[in-house]
């Protein structure tokens, strides 16, 4: 029963996503009707073509990919740690990326060449994850893994604060702070080219973890007695989410709540199954981020664009609170 329900949900979400993506292509700061935009692009008219293909298309594709990356990594992390409060950044993946990027902004390396900033972020993720693994070891339980992740995350957070502290001038500081709020504005196809392969590879790795996560529902000993190699599963999830989320954060900055809320929303539709939750959560993450990104563009009233991460947290936090209260009422 729940299987067909989750299948229906996948189809529904995919349709919604296609609609939102189309809408996202039509919305922007240049007042151009959809008909003129499409007709102009097809006719080879330079202005509509550049608006559609160079500005709105990369933004839409990135939004889709980043949302999906956060959603699927959140679901995988919650399944691995068997905790509905786990989020993709718990094991240091996003704070590593943030530290890398902030360091690049601080040193000026970010301006060295076009993709310097995301590359620095990605390097930060890789180092943070390697650190978590070195701390936790391959054969330890979930608790040690969380502790190692929290330790690395806190260290990254402290180093970011230190950099802000040392920041030479207010401009550099605001640049860093703005980056950390997360945004998809002004991204190009080169950002897409950098992030998309890693997000796709990470998502493929994570999608293959369904069986292990399903077995893990009954605890680590039972999962192992069912033939699951837990060390390999952990490694796969950590590498998969590092690739997906590291790439996402590197191009978009820190965007919270998507990775936490998407699995939470989809869990009933997945019939509680952490394996079926993976694709559903990816789709839901993409839908949510697409909604948020359309939102920041629609809310734009002439001033600076609202940062995406600010909106997701602003809407996400109360929403999450309502979800928790509802769950508590259903299951005291």
């Amino acid at each position: 029963m729940s299987f067909s329900r989750s299948r229906l949900a996948v189809i529904g979400l995919a349709i919604a996503l296609a609609g939102l993506a189309a809408l996202s292509l039509m919305i922007g700061y240049v007042d151009l009707s959809p008909r003129r935009l499409i007709a102009g692009t097809l006719a080879g008219d330079l202005v509509p073509q550049r608006i559609l293909l160079d500005i709105r298309l990369p933004r839409t594709v990135l939004c889709l990919a980043v949302g999906a990356a956060l959603g699927i990594a959140g679901a995988a992390m919650q399944g691995l740690l068997r905790n509905p409060l786990a989020e993709p950044g718990l094991l240091g993946v996003s704070s590593g990326a943030a530290l890398g990027a902030v360091l690049a902004l601080y040193t000026g390396f970010a301006d060295a060449f076009y993709l310097a900033l995301p590359l620095a972020g990605f390097a930060g993720t890789a180092i943070a994850v390697a650190f978590v693994f070195a701390l936790a070891g391959r054969h330890t339980g979930a608790t040690t893994l969380i502790l190692a992740g929290v330790a690395v995350s806190s260290l990254c957070g402290a180093l970011i604060s230190l950099i802000l502290n040392w920041s030479p001038n207010p401009t550099a500081m605001s640049e860093i702070v703005f980056w950390m709020m997360g945004s998809l504005a002004d991204r190009s196809s080169r950002d897409v080219g950098l992030a998309l392969p890693f997000i796709a590879a990470g998502a493929v790795l994570l999608l293959g973890c369904g069986r292990g996560l399903r077995a893990l529902t009954l605890g680590e000993d039972t999962a192992r007695s069912l033939g699951i190699d837990l060390g390999r599963l952990r490694f796969r999830i950590l590498v998969g989410s590092a690739a997906a989320v590291g790439a996402a954060v590197s191009v978009s900055g820190a965007i919270g709540f998507i990775g936490l809320v998407a699995p939470h929303l989809m869990r009933p539709l997945a019939g509680g199954d952490p394996g079926r939750l993976l694709p559903l959560s990816a789709l839901a993450g993409a839908v949510l981020l697409m909604l948020a990104d359309i939102g920041v563009r629609l809310l734009h009233g002439g001033g600076p664009e609202l940062k995406l991460g600010v909106l997701t947290a602003l809407v996400g936090a109360p929403f999450f609170l309502v979800l928790i209260l509802r769950t508590r009422r259903e299951m005291p």
Binding site: R214, A215, T217, L218, G219, D221, S225, G227, D229, G272
Partner: protein, 272 residues
């Protein structure tokens, strides 16, 4: 025929030796009870036999060293029923039980469904099939988790305190189920705390004390007063019924094996 056996098994965590020098054999068609005081090493032994803990010594499964079996090969042959029956997500009971089919493939074919039905019926849990596993009572959950282990259709079942949280009726029905599964050829090793049920249903008992085997054999031999005093620090009353000698734990013994407190009734009532 021995399906799973351990020779000279030892498990150490840092400098603490949890179990040491244990020989044990689980044979097809036999229900073997593993008993002993808290901390005697029962769960450690069970996990070691299931291949879940690194241990010294030699474990043979189906005539081959355990290590030479693939993870999946082990999972198809040994079902392990963990203590505590943890479940983390709101899955329907039927899907939880179907997890037992994972080692055999995807676990959602018609053959798998028939097996799931059979084990749900055997554990008296068919009526729970559509329920959310998180909403079950302790007793219901215990039965569902046992059904999950039986769904593996293993050669050996290792169950860690499957009777905890069960009412007397379900305790008896689960022990009857174990006996029936053993009679049908399954080798079962079960950790028990209820000595009376152990004496009644198990064909063999292994009594652990401080990480070693204190005694092994038929219940009648193992439930010896001296052994009970040494292993549990208790004295038991013994009832003879239907050719069985059933111990009922009665009082604590003092340091030298003598009753700790005077109980004039106890010494005379041991004949039923």
């Amino acid at each position: 025929m021995s399906v799973l056996s351990g020779k000279n098994l030892g498990v150490a965590v840092r400098d603490r030796q949890l179990i040491e020098g244990i020989d044990l054999e689980l044979r097809a068609g036999e229900l073997t009870g593993i008993i002993g005081a808290n901390g005697a090493g029962k769960s450690t032994l069970l996990k070691a036999l299931a291949g879940l803990l690194p241990c010294s010594g030699r474990i043979m499964l189906d005539g081959r060293p355990l290590q030479t079996h693939s993870l999946n090969g082990r999972a198809c042959r040994i079902a392990y029923l963990a203590q505590g029956h943890s479940a983390h997500w709101p899955l329907p009971v039927r899907e939880v039980v179907a997890l037992g089919r994972l080692p055999h493939g995807r676990g959602d074919g018609p053959e798998d469904a028939a097996i799931v039905d059979r084990v749900l019926r055997a554990t008296d849990a068919l009526g729970l099939a559509q329920r959310n596993v998180l909403t079950l009572s302790g007793g219901e959950r215990a039965r569902v988790m046992l059904a999950r282990a039986l769904a593996v259709e293993p050669k050996v079942l290792l169950a860690d305190e499957p009777l905890a949280a069960l009412d007397p009726a379900h305790q008896i029905s689960i022990m009857q189920l174990f006996a029936a599964e053993a009679a049908a050829g399954l080798a079962i090793g079960v950790v028990l705390h209820d000595l009376t049920l152990a004496a009644r249903f198990c064909s063999r008992l292994v009594l652990l004390h401080k990480g070693r085997v204190l005694a092994a054999g038929a219940p009648r031999e193992v439930f010896d007063d001296t052994l009970l005093a040494e292993a549990f620090g208790i004295r038991a009353l013994h009832f003879e019924h239907g050719g069985l000698r059933l111990p009922v734990p009665w009082q604590l013994t003092g340091k030298n094996g003598k009753p700790a407190g005077g109980d004039p009734v106890a010494s005379n009532s041991a004949a039923a």
